[in-house]
């Protein structure tokens, strides 16, 4: 059992500037680069971890947020096992946009059962003192939208970043167990996500 490694695709979505790239870099390289460029196109990093005895390779995808790039961003939503909806606690607009990001993800990732899809919500920049979004507000949104786990993170001082990714993995594994398997890396994904348009001639 422990020899099996699952490859999980996780995608970070949220407004530009909320800290998606910083969170990814913090988690994978454990560094915070205040000089980081804004993301252009799509990037991803891999990270191996063990959660509850399961070996997992997380493939973390990070995209550019601007509307203009939507058509070249959304194809990469396909095949995601988990979506980290990210806002910044010092930016109310980014919080208000969570719903749009969720919608966009569900639509383009072609998620079959949106109610069951594992979203995790991140309120980043916890270290900043001037908050615009309260913890309660955020928690309430998560509860009302599907009982999503909520983490307040800081990519800058590393608060809750690893914890949030581990929770994401747990959610995905829980989903998998319900559908009964943990599959080796090289066969990952083949058992999921039928296409809506699939016609059946049998």
């Amino acid at each position: 059992m422990t020899t099996k490694t699952s490859l999980l695709k996780v995608i970070l979505l949220g407004d530009g500037g909320v800290g998606k790239s910083s969170i990814m870099n913090r988690y994978v390289t454990n560094k915070f680069d205040a000089h980081l460029f804004h993301t252009i196109g799509v990037e991803f990093l891999n990270k191996d971890l063990e959660v509850d005895g399961h070996q997992v390779t997380l493939q973390i995808w990070d995209t550019a947020g601007q509307e203009r790039f939507r058509s070249l961003r959304t194809p990469f939503y396909r095949g995601s096992d988990c979506c980290l909806l990210t806002f910044s606690v010092d930016d109310n607009q980014s919080f208000l946009n969570l719903g749009n990001w969720k919608k966009e993800f569900i639509y383009y990732a072609d998620v079959k059962e949106p109610e069951k899809f594992p979203f995790v919500v991140l309120g980043n920049k916890l270290d900043v003192t001037e908050r615009q979004v309260s913890t309660e507000e955020a928690q309430q949104w998560c509860q009302e939208n599907g009982d999503y786990p909520y983490y307040e993170t800081s990519a800058k001082d590393a608060t809750n970043v690893a914890v949030a990714f581990e929770e994401a993995v747990r959610r995905v594994l829980a989903m998998d167990e319900r559908t009964d398997h943990l599959i080796p890396t090289d066969t990952v994904k083949l058992h999921r996500k039928p296409r809506s348009a699939a016609t059946c001639c049998s």
Partner: protein, 639 residues
């Protein structure tokens, strides 16, 4: 078959009718030709057409393909146990008379090329890789050759198509090193995930996956038996294909693939780079009134070596078109005065928008918010933009905001701060930087427009160039769902700004702005970088994700002089071709007037020679040699 081939010329009127089948035998795809019983009777000659049309039927009913295929396999299963044992090599011309004399089979993996000729009807000539014996020519009196080729194309990659003057078409084919890993029957009968997965992982099948027809075919088959199982990268690639639609067009054309003509590119010339243009040399190119003189020479020098930093501030204004080359110093001063007024007039426009107004102007608000965020994330390690209260940041912000006023429809799009930053760094002046940026944006505008047409066009153009330069590599990328070259997105959007060190960006840009040695030189820069990376990518057998990652991670590891050297070499290599396909000439801006326009070239080592043209198709593909003995062999690629 017309047995009256030139060699014996005896049985002049003889026609051998027969049937042609494509059969999957244990994963090996075999083409079989069997004469009918009473082959000698010319009245039966339509059978070749008739039977190949059963292949046609199978090909033309997408919904039923899988079933028909199954039937085919089942019905011939037992026969083929025997036939398969007799390979063509051992039995090139089985003894005796009548039907067996003309029957032949070969595995498509042994197939090298198919020549298609028209003479009122179509006939096909098959050539095998390791056999000097030519198979009998097949005449399709009743049609059906197209369908046969279409069907065959499922199992072989047609690497290029050569058209010779007498309307002969030669299809150079390639089959995968592995045979189709899982036979179709297994695949279709078995819901086993492992099998499906193996099938999907098989490089050959992924190669085929690039051809949409085949993709559909395979997926149609899946749908009947199991939910669809596309790997995420494949899904992603499919969707990207919808966003970048131009490449699909290639597949529509008769006979199912794009025809791009070209000839052998010959070897790539070695070029050397030179020293940057010095301040002294720059002033030598000015007349007493300050007009620039000997512009072509000047451009050439800048192209070959770039500029030393001291010259940039002035020279870039010319290169970008802010200053006309033939303007006098006085005229330029007047121009700058006007442009200064104009700039501040526009700057005042956004500066004077009250908070109240901005609250009701969501577009302006959004532009401002994006600019503020991005200015804080642009070249922050550069001394000009580092620290918290660096005036460089304010200038970057103000110029971008003013640009929104200059072109409100476009406004601010991510990536624009990257284009401005080096210009501002060089100009050290708000107004000059703004107008130089405006000029640069004139070139780059399409990249940032709503539909991102510029990006799509460039990706398609790059793909065209890459296929000419390195078909093997392009085919590899295509087989990895990466034929859209999406991984070059960032390169193209902001002209390598993120790929090179800041100083190298300055060098590359000034070289590009000379407009030399051809139009769209930056696409050749892409080709040069890819040329350096292809070995790694192919050896490591990178897939869609790994290619993207590898390319992203080249950032800051590239050597600009080496790249420029190679890119220039490529441009010379392409330019020296006499019969460049129009698509390529128009991308690079080479005039179609090739006759003697380059009289100096014939003696150069890379000039095309008639003898080289014979293996025109060998470019980029080791195992392809023979195409046509005609001099002007034109080549096309299937995509």
């Amino acid at each position: 078959i017309h047995p009256s081939s030139d060699e014996d010329g005896i049985e002049q009127d003889l026609l051998v009718s027969g049937s042609l089948r494509i059969i999957d035998k244990d994963g090996e795809i075999i083409v079989e030709y069997r004469p009918l019983e009473d082959t000698v009777d010319p009245s039966n000659m339509l059978c070749a057409g008739k039977d190949s049309s059963s292949v046609v039927e199978w090909a033309q009913c997408p919904g039923e393909r899988s079933h028909q295929l199954l039937e085919t396999q089942q019905s011939y299963e037992t026969e083929w146990d025997m036939v398969n044992a007799v390979s063509f090599k051992r039995k090139p011309c089985p003894n005796g008379e009548g039907e067996s004399r003309w029957a032949f089979t070969f595995s498509v993996s042994d197939l090298r090329s198919i020549t298609v000729k028209e003479e009122g009807w179509t006939f096909l000539i098959f050539k095998l890789k390791e056999s000097s014996t030519t198979l009998p020519t097949l005449h399709f009196h009743q049609g059906g050759s197209r369908e046969f080729l279409d069907s065959l194309r499922r199992f072989v990659c047609v690497l290029c198509v050569c058209r010779t003057p007498d309307d002969e078409t030669c299809l150079i084919v390639s089959t995968p090193n592995k045979a189709l890993s899982q036979s179709f029957e297994n695949l279709l009968d078995d819901n086993n995930f492992g099998l499906v997965h193996k099938f999907k992982k098989d490089p050959y099948v992924t190669t085929l996956g690039g051809f949409s027809k085949v993709t559909n075919y395979i997926f149609d088959a899946f749908r009947g038996t199991e939910e669809q199982h596309q790997r995420p990268p494949e899904e992603v690639a499919d969707l990207l294909g919808e966003v970048i639609p131009g490449l699909e067009i290639n597949q529509q054309e008769e006979p199912g693939f794009e025809v791009i003509t070209r000839i052998d590119l010959g070897t790539r010339p070695q070029v050397t780079r030179r020293e940057p243009l010095s301040a002294d040399d720059w002033t030598k190119h000015q007349d007493p009134e300050g007009r620039m003189i000997q512009i072509p020479h000047l451009r050439q020098v800048i192209f070959k070596g770039g500029l030393c930093h001291a010259v940039r501030k002035e020279a870039w204004k010319f290169l970008l078109g802010y200053f006309p080359w033939d303007s006098t110093l006085e005229e330029r001063k007047a121009l700058q005065r006007n442009k200064t007024d104009e700039y501040f007039r526009m700057k005042l426009q956004w500066k004077s928008v009250s908070e109240e107004q901005e609250r009701r102007n969501s577009r302006l608000r959004d532009y401002r918010s994006l600019i503020e965020k991005d200015v804080n994330r642009t070249d922050r390690t550069n001394r000009f933009y580092e620290g918290i209260d660096n005036p460089g940041l304010v200038l970057l912000h103000d110029i971008l905001m003013t640009y929104c006023m200059y072109d409100f429809d476009l406004g601010y799009v991510q990536g624009m701060s990257d284009l401005l930053s080096p210009i501002l760094y060089v100009m050290e002046n708000e107004v000059d930087a703004f107008w130089c940026f405006v000029s640069f944006m004139d070139q780059m505008h399409q990249n940032f427009e709503e539909q991102m047409q510029g990006m799509k066009t460039q990706l398609i153009q790059l793909s065209t160039l890459l296929r000419l330069l390195d078909l093997a590599f392009w085919n590899y990328l295509e087989s990895q769902d990466s034929g859209y070259l999406y991984f070059c997105f960032r390169w193209l959007l902001i002209r390598f700004k993120r790929e090179l060190s800041f100083q190298d960006v300055l060098r590359l840009w000034e070289v590009m702005w000379t407009g030399l040695p051809c139009q769209n030189f930056h696409l050749l820069v892409c080709c040069a970088i890819l040329d350096s990376e292809k070995q790694k990518i192919m050896e490591e057998n990178y897939g869609f994700n790994e290619i993207l990652k590898h390319i992203n991670e080249l950032s800051m590891k590239l050597d600009i002089e080496e790249i420029l050297q190679k890119a220039e070499g490529i441009s010379l290599q392409i330019k020296s071709c006499k019969d460049l396909p129009d698509s390529v000439s128009s991308i690079l801006g080479f005039t179609s007037d090739v006759s003697g326009s380059e009289p100096s070239n014939p003696g150069s080592p890379w000039a095309p020679r008639a003898t080289q043209r014979q293996d025109a198709c060998s470019n980029g593909h080791g195992h392809l040699r023979e195409t046509s003995s005609h001099n002007s062999c034109k080549v096309a690629f299937i995509s």
